[in-house]
Symmetry: C2
Subunit: 619 residues, 2 copies
């Protein structure tokens, strides 16, 4: 009853939405099959996007023509640029979002793309013909054909929900789990594993005493994720901060003997960096308090997300402990926190394009690959959608480099190193993070997306203009100097030592105390120049100057490593013939099938001497 | 972990929302327990409120301080007053609604009521102490106490979804069924039954050719449900009409052998008056086409509800047949139609207050009582919520009369006659429908709600003003006459015969061709008077005049019947002692426990001579 589609995307979560949109925008006919159309782009956990390293990912998706940033911007109830006090590599945009509106906007976004059809159903099986994915079979018994399939099942594969000693099947609370698919994939030779994640209780905001908490407002001059000019909501809502204490911890401990985590009922590994509150008090026994962010779930609802209090302890313990937190004395719960265990597929079974090695034209993206987080999922979906399209049209594949994007780091990490616990992005994972900033995601990636056809000429032109304009400012600063008479009073104001001779503006600006605005007060030429450009461009120039020496060093390193990173290895390369490789290296290389020498060097178990062997062989 | 509540409402559908709100507004502390907070007030089937007889119910709920009308008004994408060409007793407001917004507004409405707490969980069991409902046990194993419980489980009790030969457990597509409760209630002595209902496929509006359909716009001068001054959305969306044809019917018949309805897999009876398309072509074989209303699911979404095409045939047959409908040649489906079977409790087990006879302080409302429709559910919920509050506070019960409301008719029908098939409201069910109009719901019911404390003094005053103002206009028309010279030219314009003598305005207005506006052109006193009042009041006066003689007759009938309707019977009355009753009458009277002689007379199997026996005994 269906035509044959170019691409079927299974799952309407963050990964599935971006995958479907990207493939459709490239020209593929896409069928998005998802279990419930009413839950498209549901945020399973906190209603927020971005944050440290994750915000950079959202900017990268946006720079390439994905929608996560746009949807987040449209539905932002509070926006903050985190880490403003640190260097710009650390600046990380984060938004608090209206949960219902976020899902609604994504749904409308998908509906607006003519190449996407939607079908509400559950996929039970992948059709494989001659080693290639050829379509799916659904729980209604439908066979639907396609040239490629992208799986983005999230936490739904054999999902099991735990609250204390109780256990239910489910992909999210109130939603069914998806069964059958794991079993089929395993029978096809895939290896599957089990992971777990958790969510905090939701409480009734009317029952909280905010006077006992610290207010946390959004940025006054608010930023955004998207480089496009999507319109932003004007108002922002307040969040609050409070803390647990020893009484809270003692109470939580009462529930440990019923905890599914400590009694061994949960076998899957959870995200170490996003631990449950019971995990935190267990692992950091020395800390007598933990921070709790009290976050509204939307513009108008009274529902509150208790960020930092993820738990799967029995619900009565959850409530009892909550009520010992300042401001929560009379808290009423709407829904308890819970943990969920689900199947994932260790990502070393994938190629850097996110195609599986086992079955061609089959792509995996999102939580199914062992990651956690909307942003991680969305970015993988975006890349998988693109590569599925490129693959079936015999076009060049898209593999982002570690030196050009967090997305590249993410996928390279997954595919090269695998992951035993839910993988989330951190700035520390990116060795070139100085270059992978949120402010320059467009300069880094929009040209690549433009080449693919995902971004208009006009948009590319804008990015070029932005870069050129910033360069013009930098050039001005490099070529103009200022007299001591003019600048010293200002330097004094800023509590930095006076100059003894005429100095280039560029040089002055490298001082941490001095901003470009300060300098422009002494140089009317600069002031005039700046008045032509908007804030983002001026900021860009300022960052370029201030961190110039760091950037230069970083670029040098990248260039040095480029030899290895650019040295391609044929994926069909026969490692068995290289007897001088260590046994472990040989096995791992066969498993991962690295695309480059650089990737090979990151495989655990592959030593520098193994790399030398490879190098010798290749040159 | 919970305090003891006054009232626990189980289920956040239309019945549950109104029940919780009404009880809370009366002052009870209410806990609303529902399986998924994200689906509160989901419209399971068509995104529309009101319609013939159902629109009247919404007006009645609104007149008494319920919220269904307000929520519908806020989320209306198209409004039409049906049956405008017929007498005002038939005028029926109907709105097409934005599905997502409707659910969102209800949720926010509930959140705005301080007496309502919400808990996401599934109720498995009612706690009964000394023959009284005393709380519930949930699937998390929680015991929550209360003085009364209102069950509004809708289609979720042991729900089974059917599509062709496929069958799944579920309370709605994508949602889990609720198990355990039926079994417990049966073990407590309740009788349960099985019913079914169905829903049509949803299609992608982008795949339809609207040029082949008739446009159907909303009323230009748009009406509303609510008597309050809730702000209405200004724009309206278009709907369309198309028709099935013989080719469609032949195609559907191909699926009959796999139909769960015709193969006997579905045992429950479906709504005769809201039949599936397969039912229609089976039962009305002589009709070569059926009307299909093509209705958008919201303001912005492209999803379309195919009203009139409810079906549980295999999904490929659904699509094949759909595509033979003009305008649907290239239709793409989003979700297939399906049928659902669920448990209900035959409503003769209830009292007119909707309390169960078996267990005191336990109330049933909505689809669980064998009804179908949001409006029917909402109104029952509203009454059950009120009576639960009144009951636990030893306050007088609320039983609306058949002569004063559709809600009274609905509940009296259910409790007195029971129902074997899903019960929906029709104007024909109301013997006094001339009096039960949508325009006078406020005059009929706001005073009653005010007495309960559900409606403010101010609102009551407004209603009184409205009635008094209309009466003033009527009085003017009764006491003023017009000369033939002045009126005859107008009558001629209106193609009605001229007058031969000075005549009362009232008398002239009874002519169907003449409107009050026409008359006011000849009488400046009237024109001035009318200029003081708004449209609703003038319309009210006009209706009063035009249908005066009918109304009078109807009121006479009501008064005549009042003797029987007002003759109360003690619910504890011992019918076994009345040997002259027929055996069937005796059994039925014991079962129903009628509150009045009038109600007794409507019990099937109770004959006029049985009523005489009762009358004799009571006088
Ligand atoms: C309880 C919980 C707590 C979490 N806590 C955190 C946290 O603290 N921090 C964090 O960063 N992340 C957390 N996450 C993870 C975050 O929600 C996910 O990383 C993100 O949603 C993954 O996106 P996805 O697109 O891969 O999958 P999902 O968002 O899970 O979407 C999967 C989609 O696929 C559909 N689907 C699944 N199987 C099928 C099938 N067979 N056929 C058709 N459709 C199917 C589902 O209906 C759903 O629409 C949590 C998730 C859960 C459930
Ligand atoms: C497929 C389908 C087609 C329909 N077609 C029509 C139609 O054509 N015409 C028409 O007039 N009507 C139709 N209806 C009926 C209409 O949807 C219902 O009459 C109306 O929704 C009933 O309202 P309710 O409040 O009684 O129950 P529902 O709207 O069903 O709500 C029940 C609520 O109770 C919750 N719940 C259930 N059990 C539990 C539990 N144990 N614990 C906690 N929460 C629980 C559920 O989560 C849900 O929120 C259809 C319904 C369905 C499902």
């Amino acid at each position: 009853m269906f035509k044959k589609y170019n691409i079927i995307v299974v799952g309407g979560g963050h990964a599935g939405c971006e995958a479907a949109a990207a493939a459709a925008n490239l020209g593929s006919s896409v069928l998005l099959i998802t279990m419930n159309m009413a839950t498209i782009a549901q945020m399973s956990c906190n209603p927020a996007m971005g944050g440290v390293a994750k915000g950079q990912i959202v900017r990268e998706i946006d720079a390439m023509g994905g929608y996560s940033g746009i949807i987040a911007d449209k539905t932002t109830i509070q926006f903050r640029m985190l880490n403003r006090s640190k260097g710009p590599a650390m600046w990380s945009p984060r938004s608090q979002n209206d949960r219902m509106r976020f899902a609604e906007e994504w749904r409308l976004q998908l509906e607006s793309l003519p190449n996407i059809d939607i079908w509400q159903d559950t996929v039970k099986e992948i059709i494989v013909k001659n080693g290639r994915a050829n379509g799916v079979v659904t729980s209604l018994g439908l066979t639907i054909e396609s040239d490629a399939v992208v799986l983005t099942n999230g936490t739904f594969l054999n999902g099991t929900i735990h609250i204390g000693e109780k256990r239910f099947g489910g992909g999210r609370t109130g939603e069914k789990a998806a069964t059958g698919l794991t079993e089929q994939l395993v029978s096809l030779g895939f290896q599957s594993g089990r992971m777990k994640t958790g969510t905090p209780p939701r409480v009734d905001g009317r029952s909280l005493d905010y006077s006992k908490m610290e207010e946390q407002w959004g940025d006054e001059e608010r930023g955004r994720f998207s480089f496009t000019n999507v319109e932003l909501p004007t108002e922002q809502r307040c969040c609050w901060i409070t803390y647990t204490n020893e009484a809270v911890h003692e109470t939580l401990k009462e529930g440990f003997e019923k905890s599914p985590m400590f009694t061994g009922r949960i076998k899957g590994l959870g995200p170490r960096y996003c631990p449950s509150i019971e995990d935190k008090i267990n692992r950091f026994a020395e800390r007598d308090r933990h921070q709790i962010f009290v976050e509204p779930e939307g513009w108008k609802t009274v529902e509150i997300y208790v960020n930092g209090f993820s738990t799967s302890l029995p619900e009565d313990i959850q409530l009892k402990a909550l009520r010992l937190i300042p401001g929560f004395e009379n808290a009423r719960m709407f829904r308890p926190g819970y943990a969920i265990e689900y199947d994932y597929f260790p990502p070393m079974q994938l190629d850097l394009t996110l195609e599986t090695q086992q079955i061609k034209h089959l792509f995996f993206a999102g939580q199914i690959n062992g990651t956690t987080g909307y942003e991680e999922a969305a970015s993988q979906g975006f890349i998988a959608g693109i590569n599925a399209h490129q693959r079936i049209n015999d076009l060049h594949e898209l593999i982002l480099k570690r030196s050009e994007s967090y997305i590249g780091v993410l996928i390279d990490d997954l595919v090269t190193k695998g992951t035993e616990e839910p993988y989330r992005m951190f700035t520390s994972r990116a060795e070139h993070r100085l270059l992978l900033r949120q402010d320059n995601a467009d300069a880094r990636l929009t040209p690549i997306a433009h080449q693919l056809g995902l971004v208009s000429d006009e948009r590319l032109e804008q990015v070029k203009q932005k870069v050129a304009s910033a360069d013009r400012i930098v050039e001005y600063l490099r070529t103009h100097s200022v007299d001591t008479d003019a600048i010293n009073p200002i330097l004094q104001e800023l509590h930095t030592s006076p100059l003894t001779q005429k100095t280039r503006l560029f040089h002055i600006l490298t001082r941490p105390q001095v901003s470009i605005g300060d300098i422009s007060r002494t140089d009317s030429g600069l002031a005039t120049l700046l008045s032509n450009f908007d804030k983002a461009i001026i900021e860009q120039a300022e960052i370029k100057v201030k961190y110039d020496s760091y950037f230069e060093k970083e670029i040098e390193i990248v260039n040095k490593m480029r030899r290895m990173e650019d040295q391609e290895i044929n994926p069909e390369f026969d490692y068995t013939s290289l007897v001088s490789l260590s046994k472990e290296a040989r096995e791992k290389l066969i498993k991962v099938k690295p695309r480059t020498l650089g990737q090979a060097s990151r495989i655990s178990g592959v030593s520098p001497s193994d790399i030398s062997v490879l190098m010798v062989h290749m040159s």
